[in-house]
């Protein structure tokens, strides 16, 4: 069953690529026609241009944006800024025991584990996630462009304390197996309310232990 859904997703992604290119080619042909032939500006010409400048480019942009949005969720994309490479390399290391890496192996979201843990799970989560992403980009260009990745350990922090709610998006805390664990049992209410962080050290944190090596307990 899982194989089927994965291959469907793949073909939808491919479909978006094909659609983006197809609409672009149609619009491009109209642009070439107008530029080369220079037809008189009649109503018909304007209608054709409406399709070539507005309708088809808009359709190309829409499918292209969905495809692009999908790309931005991939770990590969996160590693596009060199300072993130230690984080992505750790996630890809099959021997790593970090919490982040343990979330990088499943078929469903393993290749986008960064995004799945770090996105805002709220109504406008996608928007706020992208907005902070833009802030990150500025920060990168201004401060970290030429800084070796390893020297960022202890300097790059998470903006806000990591919300338990993000973990609970996938780990409901409602199963018997969860509640039976002694460490969970005693603290179940403060875990659910977020009073006690899932990723405090001694529990499941830190999620990226290697980044805490140079400066002990950097927060």
């Amino acid at each position: 069953m899982e194989k089927v859904s994965i291959s469907t997703v793949k073909s939808i992604a491919d479909l978006l690529v094909v659609a983006t290119i197809l609409f672009a080619v149609i619009a491009f042909a109209i642009m070439l026609w107008y530029l080369a032939r220079r037809p008189p500006l009649t109503g018909v010409t304007k209608l054709v241009l409406l399709a070539g400048i507005f309708v088809f480019p808009l359709m190309s942009a829409m499918s292209g944006n969905v495809s692009g949005y999908d790309t931005t969720q991939k770990r590969e994309f996160c590693g596009g800024c060199h300072v993130m490479i230690p984080w992505t390399a750790d996630a890809e290391d099959p021997n790593s025991k970090s919490l982040a890496s343990m979330h990088a192996r499943n078929e469903l979201f393993g290749d986008r584990n960064c995004y799945r843990c770090h996105e805002d799970y709220a109504m406008f989560g996608a928007v706020t996630t992208k907005a902070t992403g833009m802030v990150h980009l500025l920060h990168y260009v201004k401060t970290y462009w030429s800084v070796p990745a390893e020297e960022t350990f202890g300097r790059i922090h998470i903006y806000n304390p990591y919300p338990n709610h993000n973990c609970m998006h996938c780990h409901s805390t409602e199963l018997d197996g969860f509640e039976e664990l002694a460490d969970h049992k005693g603290a179940i209410e403060s875990i659910r309310s977020g009073k006690e962080s899932c990723v405090s050290s001694g529990c499941h944190g830190p999620a990226h232990p290697f980044s805490k090596v140079t400066k002990e307990g950097a927060e």
Partner: protein, 71 residues
């Protein structure tokens, strides 16, 4: 940019540039291509559309003015 035709030709070139970014970003979805397509690409495409509708709008207004003067 002086004539309506000139504006439309500019709109065509802007559209072509935007389309090139869209196609690049899906064929070779690297960080730079995707970010350019989703930012600069949108700006170029919107500018082209705005230019096109500006031409159509001013043409319509001009036509109406001529009509009014004739009457």
């Amino acid at each position: 940019m002086r004539t309506q035709e000139g504006r439309l030709r500019l709109a065509c070139w802007l559209t072509i540039a935007a389309l090139a970014l869209f196609v690049w970003s899906v064929l070779d979805p690297g960080v730079v291509a995707v970010m350019l397509a989703m930012s600069l690409g949108q700006v170029l495409g919107t500018a082209a559309t705005a230019l096109f509708f500006w031409v159509v709008w001013t043409d319509l207004r001009r036509a109406r003015v001529i009509d009014r003067e004739r009457r």
